[in-house]
Assembly symmetry: C2
Homo-oligomer: 402 residues x 2
Amino acid sequence: MSTQEERTLARIALTWLAEPGTRSVYRLAARLGPVAALELLLDGGAPDEKLRATVAARVADGDARAVAAEAVARTERLGARIVTPEDEEWPARLADLKGLRLLDAFRRVDTETDPPLCFWVRGGWPLGEALERSVAVVGARAATGYGTHVATEMGYALADRDWTVVSGGAFGIDAAAHRGALNAGGLTVAVLACGVDRPYPMGNTALFDRIADTGLLVSEWPPGADPLRPRFLIRNRVIAAGTLGTVVVEASARSGATQTAHRALAIGRPAMAVPGPVTSAMSVGTHELLREHPKARLVTGVPHVLEEVGRIGADLAPPARGPDRPTDALDDDARSVLEAMPRRGTVGVERLASRAGVDIRTALRKLSLLEELALVARRDDGYALAPAPRPAARRPGTPASP
Amino acid sequence: MSTQEERTLARIALTWLAEPGTRSVYRLAARLGPVAALELLLDGGAPDEKLRATVAARVADGDARAVAAEAVARTERLGARIVTPEDEEWPARLADLKGLRLLDAFRRVDTETDPPLCFWVRGGWPLGEALERSVAVVGARAATGYGTHVATEMGYALADRDWTVVSGGAFGIDAAAHRGALNAGGLTVAVLACGVDRPYPMGNTALFDRIADTGLLVSEWPPGADPLRPRFLIRNRVIAAGTLGTVVVEASARSGATQTAHRALAIGRPAMAVPGPVTSAMSVGTHELLREHPKARLVTGVPHVLEEVGRIGADLAPPARGPDRPTDALDDDARSVLEAMPRRGTVGVERLASRAGVDIRTALRKLSLLEELALVARRDDGYALAPAPRPAARRPGTPASP
């Protein structure tokens, strides 16, 4: 029986031998376990000719196990961590990628779309928890002022309602969505197509640092990995499958952003598009998506987005756990106040009252009750959810061991 | 047996007794004929209480038959004409209004949507022929620069492909669509909610004169009739039913323009909407339409519009009339050249060659052939379709007698 460390090393080595998403590798690892799968591949036993050639070329270049060990050491030096399906924080939702079949797929990135073998993560939040209530906001690099405005507003409004924003790391719509979420003090996740230590594009370095401080930088590639062109499309399946829905804000004709939406549709997740002026080249892709896919939904703002992902969110929410939880004793007002509490950070009474739809005196009365029940804690700058009922969240500076 | 003149007078009188579209009046006229229906109503024999009251109030105000005779005289003085279902130029398509049932209709204009009893028309084209290949382009009065631009381009491009543009007479999108069509030398039809002699709004007077010169001004109300508020909505059903499809370019929330689209959908015609910036109040109505009606189609330009109405157009096109037409002898190039000829006006050889997708020498060769077959005529300023194979079109200045 292999140890978890051996299995993690094998997963890293497999990721190095063939790009993430490669179906034959994923299936081999699922059937034999990563350690035996690695041994088989290194012994030249790949199940198909193409994979055998790929592995042979890689092996001629270096020792897969040594490369993996070096990646682990480098990850530790960075203060990042490696997350595998064996970790509690692994986002279970990614398993849906096993069923992803794109129509008319002719390029390799459209057929090799199986789930990731492991992630590199920078940032303190458990990955699965961060993605639990998340929406992807994606779009063109060469965004217009209009698109940038809409993406920033959308990132802000999602974060303000305690939804996690997920995007890539590109200029334009991606960066605007992250900035919006950061401005709202919310949680934002950048899924990169290169190492989490290697900001690409360089111009977004300061943004990546802000994201790593309060959100997450995530990648399927080890530290130092280059942002090779096909990796952006390989990465897109993770953005589509890791979130409850994908919104395309602006996209030119046949852009990568609309491909993320196609991946979302292919696994039954809502794909949404923001319309724009028909005179704008940056709205051609969103309009195409809306015209060509009967299931793609036109959205003009976060209320529309939440209509789509809310349904899915409700479906995926854990069922009630039994009759004797402290919240069962709450009346409607107290429940509203509790539900209006931000997932993270503190909130003032006035803001809370307005979010809960109650007057300030009611809010104060219900907060006292919630404090007594240890559901809410008073802080210097307002009220926060009490940490007790939530699963242990790893804070920045305490990375999990790989 | 009544004469056609008596029947026309009765239709006018009925239109005066109750607003056009009133279901009980339309059905009475359909069952008894307009003359007997008028007699019945004037004798106090209206089939329902409401209509009896409406008629009584009108009759207290004047003599219906005298009002009708005066309307006929005034129409003749104007150089306009009255068109009834007994005329060859009546647009048969309007009969579809008999089946119009709007969901959730609670206002009278949403339930009284039967076909018109007669039209007043200014302009030389036979009404039915003008509407045969027509698209409605409608939208907000308070259009933005974006909407005005899109409507003008759309009017131009439709007219350039020999489609008739149909709209109301309002500022904003309506006026822009007409101007686009006029700039392309095309046929445009303004359906008014007041008399055809009574330009409303006044600011569009010059536009109405241009439309009457080369296109048509059409109304269900006699000369001198006021543009009362409900009449705009009553009128909208004619725009929806008289055309092969309705495009809403810009509309605020719950505007009259989206109601035209709803009427089009209710009788199975394509309803289309042009998206715009989500930050624009003038695109709220178009986005609503696209979100709420699964059959409403997002269009970004005339090629998309023609995709929708083209199918309907093909359905409604008369079947081939037999094997011995002169066009049967044509080869592909000659047929392309003939099909590229504008429906009206002349075209230069270069433009024609480019529209037909042939080189100029081929175009000239095929034009000689088409001339010999009397399908095309050479003019001082280019080539035109020969008048012979087309139904006799009334030219301006030769109005039909009512």
